[in-house]
Symmetry: C3
Subunit: 264 residues, 3 copies
């Protein structure tokens, strides 16, 4: 199995699929091709929230503002999974998540494709051939793939999501991504909020905007703001049958100051 | 085979696919993941217009404004198909369509997944595990799947499309859905219009807006309004190489009064 | 293997997939279903840039403003590939590309499906049944498929991309397509530009708008205009981390006059 994820939109992923299917019989599964454009951090978030649900596979992922520069192409072997993509941090949050859940050792390799046909479409000309070669060799024999050379883990570009902080005033976090529904996903783990909540659950304010803390959208009227611990385990700023980003005035990277109303 | 349909956009369906592929080798086929958001009636229309073309399969469908509330999760067995989704009516129009075409008996089951990981993403945590379990057991042995308990058909939430009426003045219908092309699909069966049409075909008015009744878009100039019996068998208000919703000023749920001009 | 491409958006392709999977076990691969709407020339471009990467397959492609008129439905056999779609030129650029790369002979067939269920959805009612029948018979036995009758190549509607010209003043080209990134892809082959370029590479102007000629986006600052030879081999008018169509004021079909600045 080979999964594909990119910010390529359409129809560029089809050229990658053609290259893969010309070289392997692998089952192809699309993760998404509308990852936030040119934003490796947001892409890294979505890879981490989707790929760990898959069985062992080669995962080809490309969000690559530096295509054509001297940024390396890499493959990370972790557990029975191999992640293939640019060396810009995109692959690390999911690699660490898989390592936590299964085998803690991660092996890193540089991919070398001599003279790719293009300087702007390495998804087709570098990453797809490498993913196909790894799949054909078998993920447990990644160290024998011709295109790959071992590199030191700490030579790779890392990417970590910012950690929230807490003081007497508030929990200080940041918006990681906004999903297709307009749900605003922060970097504040659900436990931060739950630790502060009185029983019964109260309201909280985000940057001064108040909303009830609930466990399902349906607890507020249609169009109403709410705060909840979403399916990723983070505090989200949402609207029932509406868009949280608009109602809270929040976008990717914005700071969020979260205060639980304990006067209830 | 397992088909997937939802209003999840991207990349949430990938998590469902990962769960399915971790539990089964089924071929996965996407119906659509941009079903009209939070609109079970429109979703029910599209499921009915696509799923019956498929060979026997498990069909996972989620348009679920009530996720996390006490609405049930259900599975409907009909012919060699099983439909899996929320108990909000979404699955019934397609179930009845399949029943009309093949085996008229429908069996209903409640799905019980103890302690799903999230209260907001049952596609991943409830429906996908259930669809995988049904697929692995085999659709003809659905009554032996652990997660399922038989329930009475009439205990399920039903959903029926409104029926048009006809009087001396007009055919009175409603807009069911607007498709990606902007084609306005009403609930008026083609025969209603055809019964009223003189030979040769004349014009008709929709809410006072006149357009020729034709069998193909090409019968009018580019940009011109037309009325036709579309591929779903219903009267549509369309524009050749343009958007019918804009030209007729119609949206989902709007009333349409259709009058054939028999003065021709 | 059967690939699918169309301008149908969603969820109409699902009905085609159902028809195909009811008649064949073929692996289905989506090329794209958001090809530029009702624009066979743009569709022909994208088919040519994606399908040749695939292994031998049946390729179902529908961009079909003339659906329901007397335009024919055709199949083209070339090498080990078969292309299925409307006779409006859509299939010819990719057929010629495959012929150049492998077997130069092309065989053309008319598809006849008696009484298709709809006059507006031949993807479901004509092209999908034909593609399935061809796949089941085998692409090397296409001449024995019941639905097909041989026709003369020169009876087919052809479609050729406009050729750029060059005079003392400028290279005179045209915008072929704008991709999802907003990259403006012209019909000017990369060699045209490269022939004129001094060493080191200079700036050039497009319709009077100046930009550096570079090999990767990263050579200019974020938001900066650039000219490059893209992954299709044509000159593109792009912006690093931005939209070239907006920055250059160019859309599909617009003339581009390209002048290399040789004063450097």
């Amino acid at each position: 199995m080979i999964t594909l994820a990119s910010d390529f939109g359409s129809p560029y992923p089809a050229a990658m699929k053609g290259v893969l299917l010309s070289r392997t019989d692998a089952q192809l599964v699309d993760i998404a091709h509308d990852l936030p454009r040119q934003d490796p951090r947001a892409g890294a978030f979505w890879l981490r929230e989707t790929i760990p649900y898959f069985p062992p596979a080669v995962h080809l992922a490309v969000v690559d503002p530096g295509v054509g520069t001297d940024r390396r192409a890499i493959a990370l072997g972790v557990g029975d999974h191999v992640l293939v993509g640019p060396d810009n941090g995109l692959l690390w949050p999911v690699a660490r998540r898989i390592a936590e859940q299964s085998d803690p050792s991660i092996a890193a390799f540089e991919i070398t494709v001599d003279d790719p046909a293009s300087t702007t479409f390495h998804g087709r000309d570098v990453f797809a051939p490498a993913a196909a070669a790894i799949h054909e060799q078998g993920v447990d024999r990644i160290d024998t793939v011709d295109l790959l050379s071992p590199i030191a883990l700490d030579s790779c570009v890392d990417l970590r999501f910012p950690e929230p902080t807490r003081d007497d005033e508030a929990i200080h976090g940041e918006v990681l991504v906004v999903d297709d529904f307009g749900n605003v996903i922060t970097n504040v783990p659900g436990e931060f909020l739950e630790d502060d909540l009185p029983e019964p659950a109260a309201d909280a304010t985000v940057n001064g905007v108040s909303a009830p803390v609930v466990d399902t959208f349906d607890r507020v009227d249609a169009g109403g703001r709410l705060l909840t611990v979403g399916s990723h385990g983070y505090v989200e700023c949402d609207v029932n049958e509406g868009r949280g980003d608009e109602a809270f005035g929040l976008g990717v990277g914005d700071a969020v100051d979260l205060v639980v109303d304990d006067s209830a």
